[in-house]
């Protein structure tokens, strides 16, 4: 078995075990309703986390995504309110904006050799600031297309709904897996994560790839913004504060190394599901106070990470130590 798969397998195993424990405590957790909810409610997070995975695989980080999602919602809502452009066109326009925004950050990171953490932090301020300029208030989206999209779902047996946005997330995960693992671009992303200097000397087009990665993240954040706008039928400049941290946590729980170069898109999907599961569990329990909620989330995060570490460690003990590994 390939050693690279270990963290991924550990994550999946932990997820299944955790789900089993939840089920033992609350049998309703296994209903298609809950499963449908997990997909729908985390659709926007899943999409943005796929973009974040690419960024993190390349050794970077993108703190702007939460603000970009908020900006997207506001942009869609305001444009639909002020003009009568058809929604698909607005979506395209928005994706063009967020993609170029991402590309711009990528260009700054590459050409000015500035750390991604800081560039995207400034990007976060910019995107949210731009959202404030569009509107301070939350703006409802009343366009009929939105309610039509919301009503598009496949009713699973047991009353659960597989919604369009849930499906979209699954599609993005699949697309991301193909892109990351089956294309030259994907390998280049991993290459950057393995070491920019070495990648450059090996002939990886570092600049182009960096810009493309952040553009991709920007685009997926835009897509996630569209999904969030559909999800809530509204745009709100204060929405999705801190989602970037959720996305990072999901990526890392999914077994991707923050230092870059190692990880799987599918792991991120499981990471998102684990985060969703933690929340669902806490809500099903329903007895925790506000503060205990936070503490328990922390404890569960900690346990997942430690369990994962432990599993990987135990199984890697069987392997030969890589010689000269960093």
């Amino acid at each position: 078995m390939n050693a690279r798969l270990l963290p991924l397998l550990a994550t999946v195993a932990i997820f299944l075990a955790a789900y089993a424990i939840c089920y033992a405590q609350f049998p309703a957790m296994l209903s298609t309703r809950v499963i449908g909810n997990l997909l729908t409610d985390n659709a926007f997070l899943g999409i943005v986390a796929v973009g974040m995975t690419f960024v993190i695989l390349s050794g970077g980080i993108d703190l702007s995504v939460g603000a970009v999602i908020a900006f997207s919602g506001v942009f869609i809502a305001v444009v639909l309110r002020e003009t009568n452009l058809p929604p698909p066109l607005v979506f395209l326009l928005l994706l063009a904006i967020t993609t170029s925004f991402g590309a711009f950050m990528g260009a700054v990171i590459h050409y000015l050799e500035m750390p991604p953490f800081i560039v995207t932090l400034a990007g976060m301020f910019l995107a949210r600031g731009a959202a404030y300029l569009l509107t301070l208030d939350s703006v409802p989206i009343t366009h009929p297309v939105f309610s039509q999209i919301q009503d598009l779902y496949y009713l699973m047996p047991g009353g659960g709904r597989l919604t369009l946005i849930g499906g979209l997330m699954l599609a993005v995960v699949l697309g991301g897996m193909l892109l990351a693992h089956r294309t030259r671009f994907g390998t280049n992303v991993y290459a950057l994560g393995g070491g920019v200097q070495a990648a450059r000397l090996m002939g990886v087009p570092v600049g182009r790839t960096t810009i493309a990665i952040y553009a991709l993240s920007g685009m997926l954040a835009g897509l996630s913004g569209i999904v969030f706008a559909i999800y809530t039928s509204a745009g709100y400049p204060l929405a999705t504060v801190g989602v970037e941290l959720d996305a990072i946590a999901a990526v890392v729980i999914g077994g991707t190394l923050l230092t870059g170069g190692s990880g799987y898109i599918f792991g991120t999907f499981i990471g998102v599901m684990i985060m969703g599961l933690i929340q669902t569990y806490i809500i099903f329990d329903g007895t925790l106070s506000s503060w205990w909620t936070k503490i328990v989330i922390g404890i569960l995060l900690f346990s997942f990470i430690v369990l994962q570490k432990g599993l990987v460690w135990i199984s890697s003990r069987e392997r030969v130590r890589p010689a000269g590994a960093k």
Partner: protein, 295 residues
Amino acid sequence: QTVGFSQIGSESGWRAAETTLTRMQAEERGITLKFADAQQKQENQIKALRSFIAQDVDAILLAPVVATGWDSVLREAKEADIPVILLDRMVDAPEDLYLTAVGSDLVHEGRVAGQWLVETVGDKPCNIVELQGTTGSSPAIDRKAGFEQAIAGHENLKIIRSQTGDFTRAKGKEVMESFLKAENGGRNICALYAHNDDMAVGAIQAIKEAGLKPGQDILIVSIDAVPDIFLAMAAGEANATVELTPNMAGPAFDALEAYLKNGTVPPKFIQTESKLYTQNDDPAAVYEQKKNLGY
């Protein structure tokens, strides 16, 4: 009976008091309360609502973080025959999607504060500084709007500076310090309007440290009526506050009980009183009354 309660979070003492009171009310009535803290995130609240529906609770209390974006999840609740009652903030959704809303009118609160100032100042010229809530939040927007409505037409009242204090004491203090600096050591300022009491309390400290007398040199009016502002009023350092009661759950549970027992449909909006407290209302006594409510 099981009722799910989706709370915004625990960003302020007022919010903590609302949670405490809701728990107390539920306990009194023998209701099992499923509590979900959303940590300021709408997406978490929607998740919570969906989970409540999946658990088939008997009713849902929702303190929405923002007005928009509830249609589809409320429709799901309706399809599952679960009544939803809104607490303290309104939503932007068709009325048939929720049973009733218990809360105060945020714009009205701002108006009450503004009217108090208009009456107190009379026709003396008065420069007002405003400490806004978190930029973009509905209380900040509505309390600002209400206040501006109240002072509109009174040319002697003018808002000369307005900046966000994020609803917190620390920011309230810091921003007030800059107001004082910017306005000639505070001598240009006649009144402070703060969107919540916490910011007012912070600002009072800043004013004192600048060597002025809050409550006299600068009039102070704010909203919420948390215990600490009554201490300040008792000391003559704050002038007025508009109450936003944290006991939203009491009326909500009453309405729910009536509805479940014999189908009495409550009015769509149960408005709580926006009571104005001034230094004449025996603030020390009010403080004693309020201090153990979990603020």
